[in-house]
């Protein structure tokens, strides 16, 4: 039958493609991510999931303890700091090894940190390294020389000069293979926190160097990214990537040469990329997936409501365990499984970020008219008139904690709880009256002394997610009702929204910020007059001076108190922005299947602590073997 010929041909092709693309054996844990890592080059990492992967496969001088985000030893087994807080000396452990068996030495750190400080690398977090004395000047010098480079110039000579300048000017110094000395340009109590951050990880200098070459036309040190691919990639963390397929999956295998390998639970982890948020949830529902770290679809609010039903039914047991100090997952793990209409495999966790709306604090609007929001009393009035609990309960509906300040409560050890403005409509109206705006003709709207109406408030949001449209509409209604001011909402797609925010073309605009490191300054520096992310145009020399004074404080505990005073000043008096709530991140995982998810708001989830319940614990079986 010749009709069957095309079938046979297709069958042959199918067998061939299936053979080329053979399936991998199942991994011990399966994680679904929405996007693939851009890179496994730690110095060029930038996104949260990428940084998390970086901290899985590399280990820096120190690491964060995911339970409470305190500092624990990494490659450095101990460290000291000078009395002025400027000089840090790290002593590297002698048993730290790369996955190929080489020792991790100070050379690898120097090489990695130099890469981060070369504009050639185009690293997103070069700015963090500028805290090292001489680093910023080195970066600027190299960038200027590269900018002026013309074909025909001597790239080799420029590179030799660059190497020499790094040695002479940048104050990182290795006195031997295991002692690293760093001098900072100012005391930085959170310097160890930075050292735990993936871009500060070492790279295997020999193998990376073999993938670089000088480009004679541009003078740049070019690298081929082949060294980040399995087969070439050498790492020093708990896991080594053995397979990495573009936007498809990554296979991580436990690194047998990792010095602390006995602590690493799962022998292999598959990280699968599924971009469609709905398909992600369906894939989790179909089983075989341990963790979905970023639940996207809008219907997650309904799923979370089912979780609340389950928790409500077991409220007594959960309460008792909570009082005993048990983590929620431990309690839920031993409770009976959910009945129809309930679920326990979804969870909203407080994140290290705050959702807010920015006030435009500039003296004039973009069209030159006087801007009422340049007056702190008006800003306070608008902040006091907002019922945030209602917004969280009826609009965002993810069970977020309402916020009156920017630093998420409980996220930084030793930092006190700072109170901003409460919800108080009477006080809001009083503030507005004090600023000269009151309803003089009983038309329900406020006017100034000359009888001029309050200028229409231009409330800007991005249309990227319905969340912000809903929030903007609810805020509009609250302000109209409580303050008698005209408010119009204006939705723009992300790009135009960002442009308008940067230009200051708004009265009030949607905003949000996630902290980069474990110190309040990652949030408070946003309000500095000169900060690049000060979208509000808030310029207050008094606040800048307060912030400087706090930053100069040598005693860490005292410094945190001073920073808290800065934050109180900002959110009880100045209110350049209106905090709405702490962000939450919604995870899907079944606590009776996966163990090791941490609740700390910085959401440091370390793969080496993940463990399948019921799976034989490798760590213990190894101990038995010994």
């Amino acid at each position: 039958m010749k009709v069957l010929a095309p079938f046979l041909l297709l069958l042959l092709a199918l067998i061939a493609t299936t053979y080329i693309d053979r399936p991998l054996p199942p991994a011990e844990l399966v994680i679904i991510e929405r996007s693939d890592c851009f890179t496994l080059d730690p110095q060029r990492m930038s996104y949260q999931h990428e940084i998390r992967r970086g901290e899985t496969i590399y280990e820096g001088l120190v690491a964060l303890n995911p339970q409470d985000c305190s500092i624990k030893a990494g490659v450095a087994e101990r460290w000291t700091t000078s009395a002025d807080g400027l000089t840090w000396t790290f002593h590297l452990r002698h048993n730290a090894q790369w996955s190929n068996g080489d020792s991790v030495t100070t050379r690898d750190f120097l090489y990695a940190w130099r890469r981060a400080l070369l504009p050639d690398t185009a690293a997103d977090y070069s700015g963090f390294f500028f805290e090292i004395e001489g680093a910023e000047a080195f970066f600027q010098w190299r960038a200027a020389r590269l900018g002026a480079f013309k074909p025909g110039d001597d790239a080799d000579a420029l590179w030799r000069e660059t190497e020499q300048r790094f040695l002479d000017d940048v104050r990182v110094h290795a006195s031997d293979d295991f002692t690293l000395e760093v001098r900072l340009r100012r005391p930085l109590p959170y310097f160890l926190d930075l050292c735990a951050f993936a871009p500060f990880s070492p790279v295997h200098s020999v193998s990376v160097a073999s993938f670089t070459h000088l480009d004679a036309n541009t003078g740049r040190m070019e690298q081929s990214h082949g060294w980040t691919k399995p087969g070439f990639l050498i790492t020093n963390g708990a896991y080594v990537p053995t397979v990495w397929r573009y936007k498809r999956d990554m296979r991580l295998e436990r690194n047998a040469n990792y010095w602390d390998v006995a602590r690493v639970h799962a022998a292999s982890i598959e990280v699968r990329v599924i971009e469609n948020p709905n398909t992600q949830v369906l894939a989790f529902g179909a089983g075989g997936v341990d963790w979905l770290p970023d639940v996207g679809p809008e219907y997650k609010t309904e799923m979370l409501a089912q979780r609340r039903l389950y928790e409500a039914r077991h409220a007594a047991a959960i309460g008792v365990a909570h009082d005993r100090g048990a983590e929620l997952d431990e309690t839920i793990r031993v409770l009976p499984p959910p009945v129809a209409g309930e679920r326990r495999d979804i969870r909203a966790l407080n994140a290290y970020g705050t959702d807010f709306f920015s006030f435009n604090c500039r003296p004039q609007t973009t069209n030159g008219a006087p801007n009422p929001f340049s007056d702190a009393r008006v800003r306070r009035a608008f902040a006091l008139a907002v019922d945030k609990q209602a917004l969280v309960d009826r609009v965002t509906r993810l069970g977020e904690r309402v916020a009156t300040t920017l630093v998420p409560p409980g996220s930084i050890g030793g930092y006190p709880l700072v109170q901003g403005l409460p919800f108080d409509t009477a006080r809001a109206r009083a503030e507005l009256t004090a600023a000269g705006w009151t309803d003089r003709n009983n038309d329900g709207e406020v006017e100034d002394a000359q009888g001029k109406r309050f200028p229409t408030v231009d409330l800007l949001y991005s249309t990227a997610s319905p969340r912000y449209q809903n929030l903007a509409l609810a805020l509009r209604d609250m302000w109209r009702r409580e303050l008698g001011v005209p408010v119009e909402v204006r939705g723009k797609d992300s790009k135009l929204y960002k442009e308008d925010v940067k230009k200051g073309n708004f009265s009030i605009a949607r905003g949000g910020w996630y902290g980069d490191y474990g110190d309040p300054s990652t949030f408070l520096e946003l309000q500095r007059s000169t900060d690049g992310n000060n979208d509000r145009g808030y310029k207050n020399p008094a606040f800048d001076a307060m912030l400087d004074e706090a930053q100069r404080e040598a005693d860490p505990a005292q410094r945190l108190l001073k920073l808290a005073e800065c934050e109180r000043f900002l959110f009880a008096e100045e209110v350049p922005l209106l905090p709405i709530c702490s962000y939450v991140t919604v995870y899907m995982y079944d606590p009776s299947r996966l163990q090791g998810i941490r609740e700390h708001p910085r959401l440091e989830q370390h793969f080496d602590e993940f463990q399948r319940i019921g799976a034989p614990s490798d760590a213990t079986s190894k101990e038995h073997a010994q």
Partner: protein
């Protein structure tokens, strides 16, 4: 036959060159700069300028010729490149070469497309024969209705329905990623339906015509049963239009599975290609177009060879 093969293979480079040129012109006209990503990741301006120079983004003519010489293997023959078919680095994903992206994505899309075509052929021929031998009967009306549904319902609707039914409710098939063949069945089924519908209509019309033809009457006169007439004599000729449809259809199934890939989370080349177009990732766009236009020409050639074999009258 040999002459046909040789002449068609000689035409191949020219066809691919024409496709390359047209795609290049279209891709270059798309506004935007692949090195500028609005979602953060802003390298310093001097670095962007250097990268522009390195990739010849400031000089379309140089880009056109350099890319062509590397991709076609000319640069390798002349000793200027390390790889015979170097499709360059992806501009948007600097850590990946276009070759790597195609090597991981293309086998998946091919498996998906091929499986879909096999399903489509099976369903289409069966439905076409059933309908074509008894036009107007209840089975005919049913298959006709289903085939209209297959053509008109968008694949994201069918796909989502199949997903919820078979994967979430019944848990028969896994979702997301590719492991064994079972993980490709649902997406392939979804992808196959429009093709199956079209094939069934081709076969149905062919069968109706063939069953009325002289050679069918002769076969009946020989005393063959209606079933034997249909399967041995009529189907062979009714299948010819399907065969010529099969070449381009397989190519479409292998490349045009963007929506199905999205719905089922299948990591194929389709979605990378669409994203590359949107982000103006020219090297990735050009690379995928080159590979697929070559494949398309080869498929059509294979179909023509088969055609001649099935129906010697053509030669």
């Amino acid at each position: 036959m040999t002459r046909m093969l040789v002449s068609r293979l000689l035409q191949l480079p020219f066809i691919v060159l024409a496709v390359y040129t047209v795609t290049f012109l279209l891709a270059w006209m798309v506004p935007g700069n692949p090195l500028e990503n609005p979602e953060g990741r802003r390298p310093p301006p001097e670095i962007v300028a250097a990268m522009q120079k390195q990739y010849h983004l400031d000089d379309p003519v140089a880009f056109y010729f350099e890319y062509l010489s590397k991709a076609s293997g000319v640069a390798w023959v002349m000793g200027k490149s390390d790889h015979p078919f170097d499709l360059g680095p992806s501009l948007r994903q600097p850590d990946w070469t276009v070759n790597e992206i195609i090597e991981t994505g293309a086998p998946v899309s091919m498996r998906l497309g091929i499986t879909a075509m096999m399903i489509a052929l099976g369903i289409g021929i069966f439905a076409g024969v059933v309908g074509g031998t008894r036009p107007g009967s209840l089975p005919d009306v049913c298959t006709q209705l289903i085939s209209i549904a297959g053509i008109s319902l968008p694949s994201f609707v069918i796909g989502s329905a199949l997903l919820v039914l078979f994967s979430v409710k019944l848990r028969v098939f896994p979702i997301g990623g590719v492991s064994g063949i079972e993980s490709l069945f649902l997406p392939a089924l979804t992808l196959s339906l429009p093709f199956a519908a079209y094939i069934s209509r081709l076969v149905r019309f062919g069968m109706i015509e063939q069953m009325r033809s002289d050679h069918a009457r002769t076969a009946r006169a020989k005393g063959l049963s209606e079933r034997q007439v249909a399967l041995r004599h009529a189907l062979k000729n009714a299948f010819l239009p399907v065969l010529s449809y099969l070449g381009p259809a397989t190519a479409v199934a292998m490349t045009g599975s963007f929506v199905v890939e999205k719905v089922f989370g299948v990591p194929g080349i389709g979605q990378h290609f669409v994203e590359a177009v949107l982000a103006k990732d020219i090297t990735l766009v050009m690379g995928v177009v080159l590979v697929y236009s070559t494949l398309l020409v080869l498929f059509n050639l294979a179909v023509d060879v088969m055609y001649r074999w099935v129906d010697p009258r053509i030669a």
